[in-house]
Assembly symmetry: C2
Homo-oligomer: 226 residues x 2
């Protein structure tokens, strides 16, 4: 039995390592998409648009690892919650990769127009979204609910930046119709970045649920009634 | 053992009934949000904005049922896949409820401006998205991959409508700056409806994965090599 348990922990660690790898890939794609937008570098943009395959392959592999772990080891309690969380996180990371493609598509259209303005808030949104992804995955691996709560707070910052971007671009659009099309793409990009933050938030919420359910089990909430 | 199996099947049917109920609720919220947009009825819009609680409660209940089924019965093969699919579908349906709120928020802003145009394509997008949700859930309960593939095809129709909506509204915005703000909200609403279609697509893909993994197991794909 001890041998089986050790194998399970090794497999779980392998699964977590692959999720971290996938998170790193997703994060890198978001970084590249925003870089392509700012530098108007078509080679960078095209690379993001064509490069979703490694992430999709990892997505399938991780899903399959989760099924194998569930079927072979029939884990209980924390281990069960960790694997169901991994299934959900895997889905979120795959969507982040899709959103990087959406950003690159908008960036390609944007580059065909003169720049509306110097981009400051959108790259900052990109930085915040990437940091949220990184912290959310770290909180999963370390079972760190404090870090997970920090991720939830960061989402407010992303929302505030999105609102600011929207208001500023609206002013440009109202004053100069030639900016309508490119400004629209910037607004869409800010929404994509907001959604990347939402996916990081999902991961953080899964971590809190996973760990706090564990706490409840170890420290029953109503000891008086027992 | 037979008694345990029967209990599991009963529990699984109960889970599916709750997922259908949740799907019906989510669909109804999308319908109401689009209705509020078209009729500019603030009471309908406010009801959507404040009414996410029942869906959120079902989300938590279904998640908890899935964990219980996994922990108590340790299901294998198809049953395991069905429950992991239920976890994913549950997440998708909860997001659909959030998107109905987003649509209602944009509809409320839209109603403060004169209408940009008579709305035809957006209500149609709403109808397509609702039908996709319904069919995707039916395909899950009936393990019907043909219906699931139909859902995937419907997504192309939704994308085409979204592109049409975008082009038309862009023309309004370029010709008359007073339409910029309300037209932007309509564009955002069309994106929310597209995302509801994406969630229905996710459900359909989960069904295909769930059933085809079963098929592969029952009918090995390369009988020649055996």
């Amino acid at each position: 039995m001890e041998r089986v348990v050790r194998h399970f922990q090794e497999e779980l660690e392998g699964l977590q390592a692959r999720l971290l790898e996938m998170g790193g890939l997703a994060e890198e794609r978001v970084r590249a998409a925003v870089q392509g937008l700012v530098t108007r570098d078509m080679a960078v943009i095209d690379k993001v648009m064509r490069g979703d395959e490694p992430l999709n392959e990892l997505h399938i592999e991780i899903d399959s690892r989760c099924f194998t772990l569930l079927a072979l080891y029939q884990p209980m309690a924390t281990d069960l919650r960790a694997i169901v969380a991994a299934v959900k996180i895997n889905t979120d990371l795959e969507r982040v990769g899709d959103l990087a493609v959406n950003i690159a598509e908008a960036a390609r259209r944007y580059a065909t127009h003169p720049p509306v303005k110097k981009l400051i808030d959108i790259p900052q949104m990109g930085d915040v979204a990437q940091a949220m992804l990184r912290d959310a995955l770290d909180s999963f691996v370390r079972r760190d609910t404090r870090l997970a709560h920090q991720v939830l707070n960061e989402d407010d910052r992303l929302d505030a930046l999105k609102t600011q971007v929207f208001r500023e671009l609206l002013t440009y659009m109202l004053n100069d119709p030639s900016t309508v099309e490119p400004a629209l793409d910037l607004i869409l990009i800010s929404r994509h970045l907001e959604r990347i933050g939402d996916h990081a938030t999902n991961v953080a919420e899964d971590v809190i649920f996973m760990v706090s359910a564990l706490d409840v089990r170890h420290h029953p909430p109503h000891p008086v009634e027992e």
